[in-house]
Amino acid sequence: MRKNKKIRPKMRDAILQSLRAGVVPRQGLQHIQVGRAGEVEALLSEIERIADGGSAIRFVIGEYGAGKTFFLNLIRSIALEKKIITAHADLTPNRRLQASGGQARTLYAELMRNLATRTKPDGGALPGVVERFATSALGEAGARGVSPETVIGERMDHLSEMVGGYNFATVITAYWRGHDTGNDQLKSDAVRWLRGEFSTKTDARKALGVRGFIDDKSFYDHLKLMARFVRLAGYNGFMVCLDEMVNLYKIQHTRSRNSNYEQILRILNDSLQGASEGLGFLMGGTPVFLMDTRRGLYSYEALQSRLAQNTFAREGLVDLSGPVLRLANLTPEDMYVLLDKLRHVYAAGDETAYLVPDEGLTAFMEHCNKRIGDSYFRTPRTTIKSFVDLLSILDQNPDATWQELIGQTRVEKDPGPVEELVENEKTPPENDELASFRL
């Protein structure tokens, strides 16, 4: 059952470091993934569909602490492995799918900042992607004996027909021009435009000669353009991971909340109908976000009918084909296996180097249970942190025994989800339009 394959020290350190900091590791997740084979396989097929030029959307629904972020990261790293470019961002009150105050543009910018490829899994891959597009165009130009501009122009024709495609193509061409003429300013302006950092038309025209920029309204269109573009650049597809979707649920103002849900509906429709090419969405949220009939996705009639269709797990039969993927809460058994995995990683895959025996794992769980109750497995962040700390102390002090150290380990209770300050938009009074109007 156990893998005897060694884990690379770099990967091991990265994993442990992230876990000690209480965040989900960016890589090496396959070493600490526990269970969820069905879910992983379901998403694997989605990834393959994206890689084949298809489209996909999944809502990953789980309680706080059920491992949504972990799961999203895992899927993301699988996608990267399949040569799919990923972009991820957490939604916040300032980052939304649809807005009029620049929040959608901010989200777009965040996504572009976090654009990742296999070689740059931590983000910041946008310039690389654009250059790779240029390089491949250059290669083709060399092979066909035409000028690179011609090749780029031909390729950009595919994009120009799409909404906002003309500007996009112009910017990409500008990038090439900057590269060709050694104009670094032009190159960086082009990348800045692609990142969504321009916020006025004047600036955009002055810098790049385009009439528009990426704004709140064109958020989704540009994601579609980007999906098409990365395929032109030689990648298999584009996957967008949006976490903390519950922030949409928290929007007080009904109209703006609904316009966000409308955007989700648009994405959902495009994905289910295959209208977006090589583009996949993963959205992570809590059950409330999905099911609340007043403010959740279910409050939006059209989404409700599309999402409430798949029936759920009964008597061991699981249906994972619908757009909603429910992550079960963790159990003590999951925790046990996870601790086992952790010590395996800590020992760099060497079973003989285990610092704690099996009894130690149960003893540790017992200890945590005493300290913080059953949240030790429900919200495992702090438990994992303490366990890795324990392993590290054991590692550094070969004389100490686990029995005596376990009693001293501090485990803190997870404070729960951080209640972000919900932006209190001023709700306009219902009847202020034409309240009193007289000629």
Binding site: G62, K82, T135, A328, E333, E366
Partner: protein, 771 residues
């Protein structure tokens, strides 16, 4: 000055004249009105005269009864009515026995009669009837009856009595002095018997007419009074002769006095408290008294004989005959109830009346309700059977037939009884309110049905609403030993069913799976007795048909502990999800119900999530933050129907090693999948669209290969050096680095170099790429 004096004198004179005129005028007016009043009085006296008794002159002789008496067979014509039956006094002058007025039975042919009209009533008995005093129309009716041979059974009782007055005087009093009268007694006795036979006298007159008959028979033929039968009714304060004789004989024979004698004895006793129930429902009271008497006193009670002889007083019908004259003395001794016994009997009788109070009140409000369901429900239980009317009997038969219709089988879960229309209840039990039963009425019906071995749902005693017009109810067989009020477990289970049915019916009708699920839940509830389960199943059936909503639920939830409410909440989720899916309208309702249950409505989503992932609340919502302490302490994670597990804090870690094994297997599976992905090397290198020349390396195109070869010559490059190198090969530096790293990854699963200020090549990767 003098003119003024003259003026003043003239005015004074005029004033005096005016005063004089006023006083004279007043005098004249007074004398006029006095004479008017006198005249009016006179006129009134005159107009009244025909109706009034003629004031009797003391000097006048009393008149001869023999002259006035008309024996049978003598035909006589009065005012056009020919009377041949005789036995009446006819004449213009006969005093009554007091010698103070006219004999009331005397028919004075001179008095006018009126043609038949509505005003032919005889008037009040209390003031004493008299032919002279009744209205002309009543006189006409009386004469007509006499002329018709005294055969009309519908005649006003007043006529009868007027006639009896005459017979009484003739037989009891004229007979003392007159031989002729004595000889007429047998004839009179026959006539009285005939009348007794023909007319149904209301109490208390029957006993008095009987007394008259007995007195006549005892006085003249000296016959023994037969009294084997207890009397029917009487006059409070007086016992009939027959009754006193009968009692006296039983006491003399030292026999116990049976109940059918005791009841009249109590009721006619001057000390008895006769209340409304005794008057309004004497039959029911008699039956109840007999029943209770049998239970308390057995066959009868014994009276003792007093020292004095039994004296029989005769109370004449005719009020003008002397009252209270003792006519006879018997050989028997006067029967006497021992004092303690009398008190006991009175109390006992009073208790019986009290038991009938509600029934009597119901009859008072609606006299037609005698024997109907609504009245039966108010009777003491053991009286119901004997007091049912036909409608009630029909209803019982119908209900029994319905309640026996069980539906059970392999396909359908057991459903006790039958669903019936409530409107059938209304036919048998017309209610006060048009729209439905009042709660006490519905309870009464439920009690009645219970007595007949049936249960009904909704049953107000078990928290159900009263029946409404157009509603449904379930009738089912129920063993008699079933409890009549809900145990706390039953109450909680019933509320749970009510809420569950709301959930099940949230999207139209409850599905088969949902019905079966609820049924199974009831069947498997260990805290309920067999009868309670039966009732609950019937309740469930009713709920599914009627779905009464949330009305009144909150009130009933007051006594339910928080842990139980949590269990209820969880059960509702499972009930909603039993058909494999919880729809938004169900969620909406769940939120509402959670609020009703006083649970946090936001938990609905967590619970649905927990249910939809592994179907157990054990892995329910994450317990975080201080607000969740309570929940843990209350054993939030207990399954419904099980004892709540103590809070998570106290509970030790109990690992399901089988679960761990399964988890490990699944983990191994997923690890294998992931391993396959993360080390996969089979795919062709990233397609870089230029055709690959022969001397390419590691899937790179020609220019990249050339650059890579150059790059491989040194282990590390600065960023500037690298960019210069890229420019030599006409490649954009970032794109080139990305492409080379991609290729490296494809080969060795690691990048060749990190994108940094100083680019260092990984020797292992380099070696592999150069192969």
């Amino acid at each position: 000055m003098t003119e003024y004096w003259i003026l003043a004198v003239v005015f004074l004179f005029l004033f005096l004249l005016w005063v004089l005129y006023r006083s004279v005028r007043k005098k004249i007016g007074e004398s006029r009105s006095r004479s008017y009043r006198r005249k009016k009085k006179e006129a009134e006296r005159i107009s009244r005269d025909g109706q009034k008794d003629v004031v009797i002159d003391v000097q006048e002789p009393p008149g001869d009864p023999e002259e006035c008496w008309t024996p049978r067979g003598r035909e006589i014509s009065i005012r056009g009515h020919t009377i041949s039956g005789g036995l009446i006094y006819v004449g213009e002058h006969l005093w009554n026995l007091h010698n103070r007025g006219v004999e009331p039975a005397l028919i004075d042919p001179a008095l006018p009669i009126a043609p038949h009209s509505k005003r032919n009533k005889m008037g009040s008995f209390k003031r004493g009837l008299s032919y002279r005093r009744i209205s002309p129309a009543a006189r006409a009716a009386y004469l007509k009856w006499l002329a018709g041979g005294r055969r009309d059974p519908s005649i006003d009782p007043g006529c009868l009595f007027l006639f009896l007055y005459g017979l009484e005087r003739r037989a009891l009093f004229d007979a003392i002095t007159s031989g002729a009268a004595r000889s007429q007694i047998p004839e009179i006795v026959r006539e009285i018997k005939r009348l007794l036979h023909l007319h149904h006298f209301h109490d208390p007159f029957e006993s008095r007419v009987q007394d008259l008959l007995d007195a006549l028979q005892a006085a003249w033929p000296k016959k023994r009074i037969h009294s084997n039968e207890p009397p029917r009714g009487g006059y409070q304060g007086f016992y009939s002769w027959r009754f006193e004789f009968g009692l006296g004989r039983m006491v003399a024979g030292n026999k116990p006095i049976p109940v059918d004698w005791i009841l009249p004895w109590v009721m006619l006793h001057p000390d008895a408290r006769i209340r409304v129930p005794a008057k309004r429902c004497p039959e029911e009271l008699g039956a109840l008294f007999a029943k209770r008497f049998q239970e308390t006193f057995g066959d009868g009670v014994r009276f003792k004989a007093s020292k004095s002889r039994l004296r029989l007083r005769y109370r004449p019908l005719n009020p003008t005959i002397d009252y209270d004259r003792i006519l006879f003395k018997s050989n028997l001794y006067e029967p006497l109830a021992p004092k303690g016994l009398a008190t006991r009997l009175f109390d006992f009788f009073d208790r019986c009346q009290t038991e009938l109070d509600p029934y009597s009140r119901a009859l008072g409000k609606n006299p037609g309700a005698r024997g109907s369901l609504s009245a039966l429900a108010l009777l003491p239980e053991d009286m119901i059977e004997s007091c049912m009317n036909r409608e009630a009997v029909n209803f019982r038969a119908w209900a029994l037939e319905k309640s026996k219709k069980e539906t059970a089988g392999a396909e359908k879960p057991e459903e006790p009884g039958a669903l019936v229309e409530v409107d059938r209840f209304f036919i048998a039990w017309p209610t006060k309110e048009k729209g439905g039963f009042l709660a006490p009425e519905a309870m009464g019906l439920a009690r009645l049905l219970e007595r007949w071995g049936m249960g009904v749902e909704p049953d107000p005693r078990f928290g159900g609403p009263p029946f409404k017009v157009g509603g449904k109810a379930v009738l089912f067989e129920l063993p008699g030993n079933a409890s009549t009020e809900p145990a706390p477990e039953y109450a909680a289970a019933a509320i749970l069913m009510r809420l569950s049915v709301m959930i099940a019916a949230a999207n139209g009708d409850a599905s088969k799976a949902e019905r079966a699920y609820l049924n199974n839940h009831v069947q498997s509830d260990l805290s309920l007795s067999k009868e309670e389960k039966r009732r609950l199943l019937a309740h469930l059936r009713w709920l599914l048909a009627a779905n009464p909503g949330l009305h009144g639920v909150k009130k009933r939830l007051r006594g339910v502990s928080e842990a139980d409410r949590r269990d209820m909440g969880w059960f509702l989720i499972t009930a909603a999800g039993v058909d494999g899916d919880i729809r938004p309208d169900e969620i909406k309702l769940l939120v509402k119900l959670y609020r009703t249950l006083d649970l946090d409505p936001d938990e609905v989503y967590s619970h649905i999530h927990a249910f939809s992932t592994d179907g157990s609340p054990e892995n329910g919502p994450a317990a975080t933050g201080p607000s969740d302490e309570n929940r843990e302490a209350n054993g939030a994670s207990a399954r419904p129907g099980e004892a709540p597990v103590p809070g998570g804090v106290e509970r030790g870690v109990s690992l399901d090693m089988e679960g761990v094994r399964r988890k490990m297997e699944e983990t191994a599976k997923v690890s294998a999948v992931l391993e396959n992905i993360f080390t996969e090397d089979t795919e062709p290198p990233v397609a870089i669209s230029s055709p690959a020349p022969d001397e390419t390396l590691a899937g790179l195109d020609a220019s990249h290969t050339a650059m890579f070869r150059e790059l491989a010559k040194r282990p590390s490059w600065t960023r500037e050096e690298f960019e210069t190198l890229a420019l030599q090969f006409h490649l954009p530096p970032d794109g080139a680095l990305e492409n080379i790293n991609e290729a490296a990854w494809d080969i060795s699963d690691e990048p060749l170099c990190e994108d940094d200020d100083c680019i260092e090549l990984d020797p292992d990767v380099l070696k592999e790429m150069l192969k």
